[in-house]
């Protein structure tokens, strides 16, 4: 065991994948940084990703495998998709997932649908990484978490991890998976450290984690919300409320059985989700429970989601926007008392 930040976990998985399979290439903007710059020292990695995630990879793997590109997201994702169906195993970076709107056709109508449209003949081992999440003042165009949109897209898988351990294992699995995967990295987690095995490992897609077991209420939460939910669970334990935290880790495939079993055992459900106030991931989980665990439900399902607004810039507004610990605790109390 060693300790890794979320950022380091992702970097480790990329390195694991690249060392073990020469078909894995990275494609994106400033993964290295410095191409076409004026610094005469051509061994410099000027960026290593905007958040430093890919630092060191170009030095180890070189130009052929760490491919810096112009600012041209449709071509980045499209190129990665085309490379994936023809034999590479590309990991494209969209930088901020907020930018999906300039490139989503290459996922939505292309990579996601190849296999189906072509009658099962295509394999598209593509990963698209991107940053999600509010909480750091990045404002309306750099703080979104559109994984609900990705989840609704048939043909892609979606990973939304909450810690370095999951991130590393799931990213390696995603890269080795033969289907397109959208891998979402919450920016507020990058510096968070947890224990992680020294050597390479994978975790299966579609299997939830249970960071806290409990009997009074099930809280389903992902990414930063999972961290908040764990904190709240620990606090409420003092008050005598026993909270089970289910972290699905991947929204597609979703560990439906894992969620339903937990709801069946507690009879109460709170879903915490940053993706959207409408048609979000929280609504998906709530609908799952309301259609398939209805008989075990003892109280209304509680959704802890942001308001139906863009993400505001100023800190007090942003904090009010986020489904943070206080709102989670209030929802748990409400559902336990109901």
């Amino acid at each position: 065991m060693t300790t890794m930040s979320f950022r380091e976990g992702i970097r480790a998985a990329l390195a694991d994948a690249m060392r073990s399979d020469s078909d894995v290439v990275l494609i994106g903007e400033d993964l290295r940084g410095g191409k076409g710059g004026t610094n005469p020292d051509t061994s410099v990695e000027a960026f290593g990703g905007v958040f430093g995630v890919t630092q060191g990879l170009w030095t180890e793997f070189g130009d052929d495998r760490v491919i810096d590109t112009p600012i041209t997201e449709s071509a980045i994702v499209g190129m990665a998709a085309g490379a994936a169906v023809t034999g590479l195993r590309p990991v494209a970076e969209l930088m901020f997932m907020d930018f999906f709107g300039v490139a989503y056709d290459m996922i939505y109508n292309q990579a996601a649908k190849f296999r189906y449209m072509f009658g099962g003949k295509a394999r598209t081992p593509l990963v698209v990484r991107g940053i999600i999440g509010a909480g750091v003042g990045a404002a309306a165009q750099h703080s979104n978490s559109p994984y609900n949109i990705f989840t609704s897209t048939a043909g892609v898988k979606v990973v939304v991890p909450s810690n370095a351990y999951d991130a590393r294992g799931l990213l390696l699995e995603a890269i080795r998976d033969d289907d397109p995967v959208l891998f979402c990295e919450h920016k507020a987690l990058y510096d968070l450290k947890v224990d992680v095995p020294e050597s390479s490992y994978t975790l299966p897609l579609g299997v939830a984690a249970y960071p806290r077991e409990g009997t009074d209420v099930t809280v389903v939460a992902l990414a930063k919300a999972a961290v908040d939910a764990i904190k709240v669970a620990d606090e409420l334990k003092e008050e005598g409320i026993s909270v089970e935290v289910v972290d699905p880790r991947t929204t597609s495939p979703l560990d439906e059985d894992g969620i339903l079993e937990s709801v069946a055992s507690t009879g109460r459900l709170v879903v915490v989700d940053e993706s959207a106030a409408r048609c979000g991931f929280a609504h998906d989980v709530a609908a799952l429970a309301a259609s398939q665990a209805f008989d075990s439900l003892k109280a209304p399902i509680q959704l802890v989601v942001p308001p139906h607004s863009p993400v505001p810039f100023s800190t007090p507004l942003e904090q009010a926007w986020l489904p943070g610990p206080e709102k989670i605790a209030a929802a748990i109390r409400a559902v336990v008392e109901a």
Binding site: S74, G78, D105, M106, N109, Y116
Partner: protein, 320 residues
Amino acid sequence: MELSTEQLLSAFRKMSEIRAFEDRLHEENTGGDIPGFIHLYAGEEAIAVGVCEHLTAADSIASTHRGHGHCIAKGCDITGMMLEIFGRKEGLCHGKGGSMHIADLAQGMLGANGIVGGGPPLTVGAALTAKYKGEGNVAVSFTGDGGSNQGLTFEAMNMAVVLQLPVLFVFENNGMGEATGSEFAVGANSIAERAGGFGLPAVSVDGSDFFAVHEAAGEAIERARSGGGPSVIEATCNRFYGHFEGDQTLYRTPEQLEEMKARTDPLTKFRERVDGRVDGAELDAIVEASRQLVDEAVATARAAALPDPSDVDTDVYVSY
């Protein structure tokens, strides 16, 4: 580059097959047995064939909504295509794709595409694979004059130049995008010139002339194979049917169409060019054989089984 008789016959056969396929689909379609949208390639055969005769199954192409010609030129099975267009279980895509999504990855055919401009970025990806694997393969995208105005297409060209990928962008300028003329929609003086500004060799050729296309494509593909990077070919042409089956083609007059067909039929032009070198009767036989092949494909398709409804959710993922 002088072509052998065998090469000439092979090219003519492909062009005839495409023509027979499209003419026949036009007839079939009036019967209303084919669901969805059908876009016919008749009139543009020299482009697909002039390019694809330079390619092997290890090379990739990406196509458009008007994809039948590219499929046939790239070696897709004609019966398999017809089964697909009729939505049959044994179609090339098991009935899941249809005319606008025919693909055959084993032949390096990455798919027709319902998104205008969808092909170029994908082709750039195939070219990245080719370059990375270093086996001298290339990738070609076919895009219309309409698709030449899509952001996707422009981005793909810049990316190919920056990474110096072995890719050829072919613009099939048939003068129309749906019912809108390229005269209007392409603000530039010329698609090729505009593309040239992106920093890659770009030429304009008569796309109804197989030999002109074949020569230009040969140069571009050879350059790509030998590490010389991307190129563009704009091939002017005409489509002999409407944008899709059902289009009343009010943007041109019947007289204009007739004149255009008389002047720019790629098959007629090919015959004229090979006159004296290839026996006309042999070409007639190819035309006849093509028709027969397509007739049989239609008969097979009509008689074939439909997919089972339970297959609706298979083939989405490799594993889930």
